[in-house]
């Protein structure tokens, strides 16, 4: 069940129809639900590319692995800076790893 939308944080991008995650999803999977919040229309069709998670301006999307493949509750959170991403990975035993990766030249 890859993208999990944190409903309290999602503001549907305030757009009339297309939130940012819906714009970028390469599989056309994100859409606005009836509550005007983003939702994934078919979790099984997600490629886990994390485009939506990186694009979300509210940090309201979390990418999760299907449980069939990996255990709960590991987390991978990107923090998007101007020219770099700071990733935090927390494994099922609570071990934290951080990575700062440049993603664009100045």
């Amino acid at each position: 069940m890859p993208p999990k939308v944190i409903l309290e944080k999602c503001d549907g991008c305030k757009a009339e129809h297309e939130p940012l995650c819906e714009q970028v999803c390469p599989g056309n999977l994100m859409t606005l639900g009836e509550n005007k919040k983003a939702k994934c229309r078919d979790l099984r069709d997600c490629w886990d590319c994390m485009s939506c998670t990186k694009a979300c301006p509210q940090g309201a999307i979390e990418t999760r692995l299907p449980y069939q493949l990996g255990y709960y509750p590991a987390k991978l959170t990107p923090l998007m800076g101007t020219n770099q991403i700071t990733w935090t990975c927390v494994d099922i035993n609570g071990k934290i790893e951080r990575f700062v990766i440049k993603n664009r030249n100045d």
Binding site: G27, M50, S51, L65, P66, I92, K102, N105
Partner: protein, 577 residues
């Protein structure tokens, strides 16, 4: 719900060059066309959004083809040739290799960070690979494409080429996934860059209904470009050289990052270095790609699985770097390791074969093209994963082919004048074909048919569950079933535009699967064990040292399979680098 065809709005556009697919190759084609002639109208037709479409959506951690200082194009051809058992189009490989470096250097200039070594040269990661930090590389490319003034039609799916009376391609037709309109785009030249075909076979990670897209290749590349070409009578080559590879088990993530980047040998359950122990004759650790893809599967069959890439000698610094590389390409692999609570310095990473894909950027499957990237259909050019004959293109090569196809198309349109003579009947028939699924009330869901096809191909045409093995009878069975499925497509139901897209994706995959099975039947030998393992013909047949091509008759629908001779340009033993 537009059930009545009359109510569906039509959008008619004219352009000079139409590029179908705004991935890596398509963007480079658009950039080159606009650079060569800014006056031209260049239109990109993209079923997703240009910022994150195609294989680079999630990012990339390396450019696997870069001609480094001191290396020559001849060397590159010899290496690439040896990796695929000596079957590739040398003319195409040479003119592609000449442009690879230019593309990569330009990309860097536009904003792509490339790692550097202490001398300021690109950081090498194996013989032809350089390390990059490409998580946003597609966004950077998309920005450049827009900056140069190419028109982008996001969320428009191409369904068929527009053919004029003489059989020349004059654009394409399709539908908008968001607006539900029927698009007719007339162009002087058309470049197809839709990528390869994933999801033809069932992935082993598919648990019932979940994790359906846990595959290595972009699952949204469904072979639309191949299918459109097949339907229009384009000549296709070498589909039987399927791309299957060693991937991380359960996650289907890339392992070149580990094995090429950090020199980690593949080991079996007994701790033996598989390639050195059992494949020394084929080159050991540097054995061709299909040998490497097949090796862990053979170990499983021989009772020596599971297999691993041995990461236990890696230093903490290397592991940190490795994870960083993954975050640039498939970030969720790092999440996968965390979800296993796996410390790879203690526990090696398990590997397994992937489901097979038809990908012209890795193997030689795709359109049969000329050096200017033109196909046998006048006005149609192909580049990237959809173009055949040139394996081991990867990111750099697909970009270079984009440039070549744009140059070819620009040359071609000099001789095109006037409006195309398009018959009304063609438009009407296509509109009916595209939208009629929405009129169906009861029938088959696209995903049901997709899953049926995937299991069929997996079991009867050498999928990963069958250890890539097949024989004449199974292939004939697959062919019969594909015919039934094709007939059944009339019952597909699409209740919204997303489902309509899924329905067309199934149609496209079926088209690819049919041609693929014909190719697999034709090659009565085993040239690339793993990629193509015929149990009934386990040896190499020297008389088949040639290209196997196919063409579908536009009128009768009959698929003709024939051969084309190999033309060697670079001398030497074709199986040795």
């Amino acid at each position: 719900m537009p059930v009545n065809l009359e109510n569906i709005e039509e959008v008619y556009l004219q352009t000079d060059i139409l590029i179908i697919g705004a991935g890596n190759a398509g963007c480079f084609a658009a950039i080159e066309a606009k650079r060569l002639n800014p006056e031209l109208k260049v239109t990109l037709m993209e079923k997703a959004h240009i910022d994150r479409s195609g294989c680079l959506a999630g990012g990339m951690d390396a450019i696997n083809t870069y001609i480094k200082k001191g290396r020559t194009i001849d060397e590159f051809v010899r290496w690439s040739r040896s990796q695929v058992g000596g079957l590739l189009r040398e003319d195409l490989t040479i003119n592609m290799a000449e442009l690879i470096n230019q593309c990569i250097e330009e990309w860097e200039e536009w904003g792509l960070p490339i790692k550097k070594d202490e001398n300021g040269e690109y950081l090498a990661r194996g013989k032809w690979d350089i390390a990059i930090q490409g998580s946003e590389m597609k966004v950077i490319l998309a920005e450049k494409t827009r900056e140069l003034g190419a028109e982008v039609l996001n969320r428009v799916v191409a369904t068929n080429f527009l053919l004029d009376e003489n059989g020349a391609v004059r654009g394409a037709m399709g539908f908008g996934v968001r607006d539900g309109k029927f698009y007719i785009i007339e162009a002087k030249a058309t470049i197809v860059a839709t990528g390869g075909a994933g999801g033809v076979y069932k992935p082993y990670t598919n648990d019932g209904n979940d994790c359906h897209h846990q595959i290595w290749y972009s699952p949204f590349n469904t072979g639309a470009g191949y299918a459109m070409g097949i339907r229009a009578g384009a000549e296709m080559t070498t589909f039987e050289m399927r791309w299957a590879s060693v991937r991380t088990k359960d996650f289907n993530g890339p392992i070149d990052t580990i094995s090429v980047g950090y020199n980690t040998p593949m080991i079996n359950a007994k701790g033996e270095k598989i390639l050195q122990t059992h494949y020394a004759a084929q080159g050991g650790e540097t054995a061709p790609r299909y040998i490497r893809a097949n090796a862990p599967m053979e170990e499983w069959l021989a009772g020596r699985g599971p297999c691993y890439v041995d990461t236990r000698h890696m230093t903490p610094k290397q592991i940190k770097e490795l994870k960083g590389d993954y975050l640039n390409e498939r970030p969720t692999f790092v999440l996968f390791l965390a979800a296993r609570g796996q410390d790879i310095s203690q526990e090696p990473i398990e590997v397994y074969g992937s489901d097979p894909y038809i990908v012209g950027g890795h193997t030689a499957s795709g359109y049969w093209i000329n050096p200017d990237r033109s196909t046998n259909l006048p006005g149609l050019f192909a580049c990237g994963d959809v173009a055949g004959g040139v394996p081991n293109k990867f990111v750099g090569g697909c970009a270079a082919e984009g440039l070549l196809s744009a140059r070819g198309a620009l040359e071609y349109i000099k001789g095109v004048n006037g409006e195309a003579a398009i018959s009304e009947g063609q438009l009407k028939a296509e509109k009916e074909r595209v939208f009629h699924f929405m009129a169906n009330q009861d029938g088959i869901l696209p995903r049901e048919m997709e899953e049926r096809l995937q299991r069929l191909m997996d079991e009867y045409a050498g999928g990963v569950h069958q250890f890539f093995r097949m024989n004449e009878e199974r292939l004939q069975y697959a062919l019969r079933e594909i015919k039934i499925l094709k007939d059944q497509t009339k019952y597909l139901v699409a209740s919204d535009l997303h489902e309509l897209m899924s329905a067309h994706e199934v149609l496209d995959r079926l088209e690819v699967a049919e041609v693929l099975v014909h190719h697999l039947l034709f090659r009565r030998e085993t040239r690339w064990p793993g990629w193509q393992t015929r149990m009934d013909y386990p040896e190499v047949d020297p008389s088949l040292d040639c290209f196997v091509n196919s063409q579908k008759d536009r009128e009768t629908g009959e698929i003709k399979v024939f051969t084309r001779p190999y033309v060697q340009v670079v001398p030497g033993d074709r199986t040795k680098p």
